[in-house]
């Protein structure tokens, strides 16, 4: 037995050697990847933390609790609180329409959803200035009616919505396409209304993909700089979001404060990363088509045994219910 075992082990080792690269090559590749990640990702993160805490916890706390900083945090949260739900509704509706129906303008809609990815965020901000600014098309009319959009909170929210609206739809379209429409059709034939089908079938099937999309969307909504910068006006305590506030502090050589506030965004980034990893794993599970899991030997008893078993079960069930018909066929 021992001899057999040993020879099998060495055989599998030989096999592995034959199908992989030499150890030196593998180590080199891993080292290159790690060094790259270290220099470009980990080092900056450490630097942010180090800079933020350089002047001690007291200075860090003071920078965070500064009224302007708190206002920036509030505005960022408010912006995300408006932009995220709106984009979720839009994204789910768009993904559903695109994945489930054929209609004229469908490919145009797909293209338009990608527009914010294609356009520089600065341009996205400028679009709103051109529309709603004092020199813009609607600016004078809005000014006459005392509605402030540019250099005010509504402009920031609009710019954020524009920049972030592809995330959910982009995430859901391939997922819904892969899952196919059959479960929804089954639901409808079984007597469910459109809303019931959406709530009991569509939504649970895409929930992890949706969550993944929401996490990315939220991270981008809170971190957006370019588009928001154009429409904000940088009014301290009023129209500054966290990223804008960091820039102002930095430009004023308040390095410690800048890094302290930046650490809030960094922390948000790390939380996003963890949440994303979890959602991504769950999402990958929901993507596997049922057919691919079909004949998992761990779960399927040999078919003939299985059928014999169910005939037995059915007979006892029939006996329990006292229905002769059920006994008859078994």
């Amino acid at each position: 037995m021992h001899v057999v075992n040993i020879s099998r082990q060495s055989a599998s080792r030989q096999l592995r050697q034959a199908t992989t690269e030499p150890a030196a090559v593998r180590w080199l590749l891993v080292a290159v990847a790690l060094a790259f990640v270290g220099v470009f990702l980990v080092l900056p993160l450490v630097a942010v933390a180090a800079q933020a805490l350089k002047a001690g916890l007291g200075a860090f706390g003071a920078a965070i609790l500064d009224p302007d900083t708190l206002a920036a945090v509030r505005l960022t949260l408010l912006t995300a609180a408006i932009a995220v739900p709106l984009n979720v509704v839009f994204g789910v509706a768009a993904a559903w329409a695109i994945a489930r129906f054929e209609f004229t303008g469908r490919s145009l809609l797909i293209t338009l959803i990608d527009l914010p990815f294609a356009v520089s965020p600065v341009i996205a901000g400028l679009i709103y200035v051109l529309l709603f600014g004092m020199q813009g098309w609607l600016g004078p009319w809005l000014a006459d009616h005392d509605v402030a959009i540019i250099f005010a909170v509504p402009g920031i929210v609009l710019a954020t919505i524009f920049v972030t609206f592809p995330f959910v739809a982009r995430e859901l379209i391939p997922l819904m396409r892969a899952q196919g429409p059959e479960e929804e059709q089954a639901s409808v034939v079984l007597g469910a209304s459109g809303w019931q089908t959406f709530r009991y079938v569509t939504l649970p099937n895409v929930k992890w993909g949706l969550l993944y999309g929401v996490i990315i969307l939220n991270a981008r909504a809170m971190g957006e700089f370019g588009a928001v910068s154009v429409v904000s006006g940088h009014i301290r305590g009023l129209t500054n979001t966290i990223p804008l506030h960091v820039e102002i502090l930095y430009n004023e050589y308040q390095t410690t404060a800048a890094f302290a506030v930046a650490s809030i965004l960094t922390l948000l980034g790390l939380v996003t990363l963890v949440a994303k990893t979890i959602a991504d794993r769950k999402r990958a599970q929901s993507l596997v088509p049922l057919a691919a899991l079909a004949e998992d030997p761990a779960h399927s008893a040999p078919p003939h045994l299985d059928l014999a078993g169910h005939a037995l079960q059915a007979r006892s069930a029939g006996a329990a219910l006292g229905t002769p018909a059920q006994e008859a066929w078994a």
Partner: protein
């Protein structure tokens, strides 16, 4: 009452999927739609369920025209080819879904689900998810789910295509028993002749969206109404022949034709279709011999004998494996040929 499909037509762009199809299904009947893939069978089923809308024609269930009725109100059960079980619901939730969305109280729902898991042999699997079931078990969950709301019609789209061959055989027999017990009017789609003939009371052969023939399994096999049906069903010889009087000639082989043969006239060219089991070969060295054996191929329980007819092309027949008819049949042997049954069809003008 049953169901009636009247003049149904459906196009997808320029592709004609269903072309003026009319048929009736009596209450309690089990009917097969049989035909090659892409022939429009599934589309007919989907139109009846309301998942597609017809361009023309009408569907009535129990005398009620349902063309304008949304699928959820039709009270039709539909078993999808890949079952389309709700992946995030347990077996119990899957089966109870149709009752839940119709607002059936929980106690009644549980009673019905319990009853169906009993009939379907799913006891003990109630808490499992579809991914934890074998193919055959999923099939039965799909069936139980569609039966739970007591549909007036059950539609099955290639119900056994996704399970492996061994399970398929048993599931067929089981579906037949289930149908006889529950008694729900059922239509199933299949491209498998054995499945259609072995399971259905009546078979409708569909090709290129047209209903080619509607009849009992015996009628479809013995009295094919069209050349398509004759060629599609079973394994057949398709031979070019010349008709003279009561006979057709394929090279040196004379084939007697029945009175009722359609559309064939003396002297005309015709296409003969002869099933592999409607031929007999025997060893003959004298003037009776009209062909020479080319190959003898054992195929499990039967033997395929291929021969060449003098003055014409190849011909083949199937024999039981140890048949005494095979005596002296070996490559190179001269044989006589007897045709028990042949159908002649006029050759369409080119």
């Amino acid at each position: 009452m049953g169901i009636r499909v009247d003049g149904l037509s459906k196009r997808f762009g320029s592709f004609v999927a269903v072309d003026d199809v009319t048929f009736d299904v009596r209450a309690g009947e089990l009917v097969a739609l049989l035909g090659p893939s892409g022939g429009g069978k599934s589309t007919i089923l989907r139109i009846i369920a309301g998942l597609e809308t017809a361009d023309a024609g009408s569907v009535s269930l129990e005398g009620e025209v349902v063309d304008e009725m949304p699928p959820r109100d039709r009270r039709v059960g539909f078993v999808f080819q890949h079952y389309a079980l709700f992946r995030h619901m347990t077996v119990e939730q899957n089966i109870g879904y149709g009752l839940k969305v119709r607002g059936v109280a929980k106690a009644e729902r549980q009673r019905r689900v319990g009853e169906l898991t009993g009939i379907m042999g799913l006891r003990g699997l109630e808490a499992r998810y579809p991914a934890q079931l074998s193919g055959g078990q999923r099939q039965r969950v799909a069936l139980a789910r569609s039966l739970a709301p007591s549909p007036r019609l059950l539609l099955l789209d290639e119900p056994f295509a996704a399970v492996d061959a061994r399970v398929r055989e048993e599931l067929r027999a089981w579906l037949r028993r289930m149908h006889d017990q529950v008694g729900v009017t059922s239509i199933f789609v299949t491209h498998d002749q054995e499945e259609a003939f072995g399971l259905a009371d009546r078979v409708m052969v569909i090709n290129r969206g047209r209903l080619e023939q509607d009849g009992s399994p015996r009628e479809i096999q013995d009295e094919p109404a069209t050349e398509f049906v004759a060629r599609f069903i079973g394994e057949s010889n398709v031979l070019e022949a010349r008709v003279q009087g009561e006979d057709a000639w394929v090279g040196a082989l004379r084939v007697g034709l029945d009175q009722g043969e359609r559309g064939t006239r003396g002297g005309a060219a015709a296409r003969l279709i002869i099933r592999s089991y409607d031929l007999k070969f025997w060893h003959a060295e004298n003037g009776d011999s009209v062909a020479v054996v080319r190959r003898v191929v054992p195929l499990g329980d039967r033997v395929r004998v291929e021969a060449a007819v003098d003055g014409a092309g190849p011909i083949f027949a199937h024999f039981p494996r140890r048949s005494s008819l095979l005596h002296g049949i070996e490559p190179g042997a001269r044989i006589a040929v007897e045709v028990t049954r042949a159908r002649a069809y006029p050759v369409e003008a080119p």
